[in-house]
């Protein structure tokens, strides 16, 4: 059995082991890893997440038992200090020797620290390992200001980390622009202003001459005589290969350091390989993870005598989200090719800059830069890498076609060799073959069997597009039909129900569906029926999710929560007391919600009607917290009390909440009204938001908190209250009629062709001529409002439903509660079975 020693335990080292074990089992190759750090390999690309999560486990490339499962010996906290290539042994810092047949050097790099006077002082850090991060976090606790030296990729990441640590952060860059290797001046300017709007100050053209202070740093001095008052410095000025082992082993180095390797990643000693940032191929060091992964695979293939491609260098194209700003740079980004012609587009309003460089004969794309919007990145990179023909008006590549037929360059024009997923090295041909030969009809299945999109995920949209395009070419329609029981989209069903006057799920299933339905189509149709007819939701009981069936939100342990409506968050002392009295009587846990109301948890099913009767007697009505419908319209205190308030935001919020309450929509709806631009109601994070201006209100739509936060976009500015409500009627109805099930307004807008401009045309300019119809439909829904709980408690038959057992009044004997901070809580998921 051959013995492979891997020196270093970073991402590339891990990939090497993974690839090796895929090729050959532990009966052919014994693998021992020596890692200098105390943790197993972790994801350095997402290192900045450590500042918010502070969990090493989340960053690990594989759980620690993975190494055991793969029969790989991992020795952490062990530094290899020399190699004896004659004896084929390595020596550890503890004086132990170990024998190898093959040695793989994956020692990575260390941060380059420029020779600046005083750089050894306390308070100066580098940004590379978890240990570095721990030190930065601990030092930051006692200070207020911190700076980053270096405005490259990693430097900007580090600046975001300082911001997350609540420091006043600056970035200092020697060059006249940010990310000088990837961006031109205009791209850098766009990125700079986007980052500065987040509160990070950017200083360009600054040559740092001294770190001031005694033994602890107390500021920076620059060659131009200026100074910066800061208490911490994080250095991120590039990397240097960790090639210290070259001397003892007699290994050749590249011109700029690194172990010199051939196309199989072998050093001048054929039994010693080098990969990742430690390797120098043609004197080039590749400081990105994708080329490192490529090297790992080629080295693993070569050691195990597998036929493989060779390493021929790598593309340094990159796409990432920097501090929330999308940045892409590909091919010849800066237009260094002689005769290249740049085409650029700049939109300072939206913070978007796009540039492409085309060849002097105007036939090929050489490279480009994208800041603020990288949605075209995948396609542009493919066109560049595959030397595909570009359209007669090359600007269409970044501006899209303006009228007329779409140009070529669709996903289907890509050659089969086009590499789609660079992490897993999957080509378009691999994807198409998998779809054809294995009859794949599910995107997830395609990802699983090819590995595409399972690494960094940057290619996911493209994998999805290829999947859809290929199915379409094979004659399979890819419509977003509801589920196997209905071959219609939600929008089509909306029209069918409305035009044919369908009132029940069964009628629809009989006429337009097949089978017996399922948990996907039943609630979707229930929502449609409610949106169209605004009929009693309780009538459709068995096609509702449990929340709508019992008019309350189900919680752990099967109890429900109760949320009465508190419009605009305004509540009288009497009503507060009523809530307190009810909560006390039924032993409910109470909590203030994010939407300015009070949630009562832990209600037993049998008690729900009694609880609601008391609440209704006290003047409350259903809050619809259980439905895909309007939740709350949050308000600030407004001009009545606030010294800054421009208008009475509370009264307006109450009016709006009362207007749209109870209306069923594809997903929940939240609104907000702020009395001035200080925006205390967070209206721009809502599905619709109004912010008072001197002249009226600005109306924002399609904002979203939750999993993928998105700011709302301005639909109309400085409009009066009546106009705002007219636009809101149209907007909400248009959304209700056209969105896919469970798509919130933000997601809906993102998919809407033409985006916010199109929405504005439809809602404000009434370009489709449906404005009046939308208002009429909305008016009908508003007129049909009823408090669902009031109707429920006055219906004898319906009341029977609120019992855990149909044949007994007993409570559920398995339901358990314990106590926490003077209130009750449900038993945890696990403890119930024990």
């Amino acid at each position: 059995m051959k013995r492979i020693i891997v020196v270093g335990n970073g991402m590339v080292s891990h990939k090497f082991c993974l690839k090796l074990r895929t090729i050959a089992g532990s009966d052919t190759y014994e693998v021992v890893i020596y890692g200098e750090e105390t943790w197993p390999a972790y994801d350095r690309v997402h290192l900045s997440e450590y500042f918010t999560e502070q969990s090493v486990d989340k960053l690990l490339m594989a759980p620690s038992d993975w190494y055991q499962d793969q029969n790989i010996t991992l020795k952490t906290g062990q530094l290899i200090i020399s190699i004896d290539p004659q004896q084929r042994t390595v020596l550890t810092h503890e004086g132990k020797t170990d024998h190898y047949d093959y040695l793989v050097l994956a020692t990575g790099s260390r941060p380059f620290v420029p020779k600046i006077d005083g750089v050894e002082k306390r308070g100066v850090f580098v940004y590379r390992t978890i240990e570095d991060l721990d030190q930065i976090i601990s030092y930051a606790k006692n200070i207020k200001r911190g700076a980053v030296l270096g405005g490259g990729l990693l430097g900007l990441e580090a600046a975001k980390a300082l911001l997350d640590l609540n420091l006043d952060a600056q970035v200092i860059e020697f060059a006249p622009r940010l990310m000088p290797r990837q961006l031109d001046e205009a791209g850098s300017n766009t990125l700079k202003s986007e980052i500065e709007s987040l509160g990070i100050e950017i200083l360009l053209n600054k040559n740092t001459s001294k770190v001031a202070g005694t033994d602890q740093m107390a500021g920076l001095e620059f060659a131009d005589g200026s100074q910066l008052d800061t208490e911490m410095l994080v250095i991120s000025c590039g990397i240097i290969s960790r090639d210290e082992l070259a001397e003892s082993a007699g290994l050749e180095k590249g011109a700029r350091g690194g172990f010199k390797v051939n196309e199989y990643l072998q050093t001048n000693d054929p039994n010693i390989y080098a990969v990742g940032e430690a390797a120098a191929f043609n004197d080039m060091i590749y400081g990105l993870v994708a080329p490192g992964y490529d090297m790992a695979e080629i080295a693993a293939n070569h050691i195990t005598d597998q036929a493989s491609k060779t390493f021929t260098g790598a593309d340094m194209s990159t796409k990432l989200k920097l501090i929330g700003v999308e940045v892409g740079s590909f091919g010849d980004a800066l237009g260094d090719t002689p005769g290249s012609i740049p085409i650029s587009f700049e939109d300072k309003n939206s913070g978007i800059y796009k540039r492409i460089n085309i060849s002097s004969d105007k036939k090929h794309l050489l490279g480009g830069i994208l800041v603020g919007d990288t949605s075209d990145y995948g396609m542009l990179l493919q066109i560049t890498q595959n030397s595909m023909a570009i359209p007669p008006n090359p600007e269409d590549l970044i501006l899209g076609t303006r009228g007329g037929q779409a140009n070529g360059n669709t996903i289907l024009d890509l050659p089969d060799t086009a590499q789609i997923c660079s992490c897993e090295n999957v080509s378009k041909g691999d994807l198409v073959d998998a779809i054809k030969s294995q009859n794949i009809t599910d995107l997830k299945e395609l990802r699983n069997c090819t590995g595409a999109g399972t690494g960094c995920g940057a290619c996911s949209p493209m994998v999805g597009d290829i999947f859809s395009a290929q199915l379409k070419e094979m004659g399979q329609t890819v419509r977003k039909t509801l589920c196997p029981h209905f071959d219609y989209t939600r929008q089509e069903l909306y029209s069918l129900i409305k035009v044919k006057g369908i009132k029940t799920y069964n009628e629809l299933l009989d006429q337009y569906g097949e089978g017996d339905g399922c948990e996907t189509c039943k609630p979707a149709v229930a929502s449609l029926l409610a949106s169209i007819w605004n009929d009693k939701i309780l009538k459709q009981e068995t096609i509702q999710d449990t929340n709508d069936r019992f008019l309350a939100n189900i919680q752990k342990g099967g109890s429900y929560s109760v949320v009465p409506r508190v419009p605009g968050g305004e509540i009288t002392p009497e009503k507060l007391i009523a809530i307190g009295t009810v909560a006390k009587k039924y032993d409910l846990y109470t909590k203030i919600t994010g939407g300015q109301r009070i949630d009562m948890f832990g209600a037993r099913l049998n008690d729900l009607p009694k609880i609601w009767r008391e609440l209704i007697d006290a003047g409350f009505e259903s809050g619809h917290a259980y439905g895909k419908s309007l939740r709350t319209v949050k308000s600030c205190v407004g001009s009545t009390w606030c010294r800054y308030g421009l208008h009475d935001s509370v009264s307006y919020a109450i009016e709006i909440e009362d207007r749209y309450k109870g209306i069923r929509s594809p997903h929940k709806l939240k609104g907000g009204v702020s009395g001035c631009r200080r925006e205390c109601a967070e209206a721009q994070a809502k599905d619709f938001g109004l912010i008072a201006t001197e002249l009226g209100y600005n109306l924002y739509v399609c904002g979203n908190g939750g999993a993928n936060p998105q700011h709302a976009k301005l639909l109309a500015g400085d409009i009066d209250e009546k106009t705002a409500i007219k636009y809101l009627d149209r907007f909400l109805m248009f959304y209700i009629q056209t969105a896919e099930p469970l798509n919130r307004t933000a997601v809906w807008l993102n998919k809407l062709d033409g985006g916010i401009d199109y929405l504005r045309e439809v809602v404000v300019e009434d370009s489709l001529g449906i404005g009046e119809d939308l208002e009429k439909d909305m008016q009908a829904l508003i007129a049909a409002y009823h408090c669902e709980w009031k109707e429920a408690i006055n219906d004898e038959k319906m009341m029977k439903r609120f019992s855990h057992f149909a044949n007994s009044d007993d409570y559920d004997p398995t339901q358990q509660f314990s106590s926490m901070r003077e209130m009750k809580k449900p038993a945890g998921w696990e403890s119930i079975s024990k």
């Binding site: 189509c521 068995t542 099967g558 398995t814 119930i832």
Partner: protein, 123 residues
């Protein structure tokens, strides 16, 4: 608590007694109710569309919640199923198999309607 092991699939041949539960017309169409059968909680489903009745344990094995009677029923191909309201795990109403995961199967029980009353059979 050993709720998980309390429930065992009962075949028609194993039925030792039939327990009367409720009149058939008290069950919602295409929906279920939870009934107390001695110490057991059994979910009985009135699958009107298929003109069939099914009974299963009320306990969803995924997070051990007494809830399945409140789930939506439907079909997966021709297989009748119920979806747990908590995390939408689906189980065959015929065999109890988990159809969209690796949860252990749920117990099923024979049901019959006689003289307008719904009976469930236990061993």
């Amino acid at each position: 608590m050993t709720e998980l092991t309390t429930y065992k699939t009962t075949t028609p041949a194993e039925v030792s007694k039939w327990i009367a539960t409720l009149p058939a017309d008290e069950f919602p169409e295409n929906g279920g109710l939870n009934v107390k059968v001695e110490d057991l909680q059994i979910a009985i489903f009135n699958f009107t569309r298929r003109n069939e009745w099914f009974a299963t344990q009320n306990l969803c094995p995924h997070k051990q919640q007494m809830i399945l009677s409140r789930g939506m029923i439907g079909s997966d191909g021709d297989e009748p199923k119920v979806a747990c309201p908590f995390h939408k795990k689906t189980f065959s109403l015929k065999t109890g198999e988990n159809l969209n995961g690796d949860e252990c199967p749920i117990a099923t029980y024979p049901v019959k309607v006689e003289g307008g009353t719904v009976y469930v059979g236990i061993a």
